[in-house]
Symmetry: C2
Subunit: 213 residues, 2 copies
Amino acid sequence: MARMKDSLLPGRARPAQRRDGQGPVAGSGGPRSAGTRRAILAAARSTFAARGYEQTTIRAVAGQAGIDASMVMRYFGSKAGLFTAATTMDLVIPDLAVAPAARRGELIVRHFVDRWEDSSRDDELIALLRTAVTSEAVAAQLQAAVGQLITGPVAALGDDRAAERGALIGAQLLGLALGRYILRLEPLASMAAADVVAAVAPSVQRYLSRPPP
Amino acid sequence: MARMKDSLLPGRARPAQRRDGQGPVAGSGGPRSAGTRRAILAAARSTFAARGYEQTTIRAVAGQAGIDASMVMRYFGSKAGLFTAATTMDLVIPDLAVAPAARRGELIVRHFVDRWEDSSRDDELIALLRTAVTSEAVAAQLQAAVGQLITGPVAALGDDRAAERGALIGAQLLGLALGRYILRLEPLASMAAADVVAAVAPSVQRYLSRPPP
DNA sequence: CACCGTTGCCAACGCTTGTTGGCTTGAGCG
DNA sequence: CGCTCAAGCCAACAAGCGTTGGCAACGGTG
């Protein structure tokens, strides 16, 4: 089998599987050693976030985790499996109904900016965004995340056109993340989080409430 | 010299230069054969846009241009040189002063959306965006583009805080391009261009005119 | 103690990539 | 015709990559 251009695209479901039928499957959640597993995942998250998918090498992740590259393979089956395991976001879905209608835009923006500012966690979003841009499979993953995290709550308010509003809000928020955390557009990158929220929230508020065209 | 992880970062200024002192330098604009040169550039633009920098191989570009990979090297010196030559945007800077103040947001959004919809040209932006996300050098290139195309015209209106307004508008527009053309968030990706302009323009208008925090 | 599964490392395989140098072809010109 | 020079192709190189299989150390259980 060996290297097949390592495309991260579907069709490479589970190539690893040891030849002896028994033993835990490496790909999903084989509990080999919880400590090492966490070390690998932490190293993978930060490296994927810092360098993107293609420029991240399994050897580098292994080195940062203090183990050998073949260990990463045994734990996660493949580079694509490692990426998947490292970027399964724990979805904290905002509940828009708790805020008055006029402040829901601010609630959304604050929710995401606060999350991203916590640098121990925003690695996942950065890694996902860096990779989605060149991988259709990961792009689909991000589409789904936008659907669940944004369009979903909007639809839960009973809004028709929730899909359109969700996509517009998603584009605004992804642009914000791109400009602030990846491209580091100044002065956006060094503004205080509260100022960013204050600047962007009204736009999101308008996407939430504007009448259909 | 050979392969040095092909990082696209600075420091690899001009490695090509034939050993005989004469002859046109390959890197910048050597007029070897105008037709072939254009064919390579067109193939490079579409491939870089479609697959991103790392997943684009010189062999693929050469194949699409109907020539050999070594020809690409002789024309452009290196993969990084090819990318640079393929993504030098011809800046068409919008003049905001021609529109009344209340319609300048619409003017900006329409300017960029119209440009991107012309698929023969938006390849450059897509390629640039796909690559900027994983290359600091190209990210700097995009920063400069935002400065010239957005912050510049805003500043030309005599606005203080132009930098802040420009960065916010840039983030909104880049998010729009990301969602519509790269991630293809629905229904944003299939909306009519005019509807997109109508939806996003008021946000840009507000970034242009909102009072400081 | 003997057995066995786990954890880990080491060395290699096979493949792709950017890049180089030499060869062939063909047109222009004395 | 014979020479030159650009344009092009072919074959190879060196390196890095994901991935694999075998082997050493160790800890628990009979």
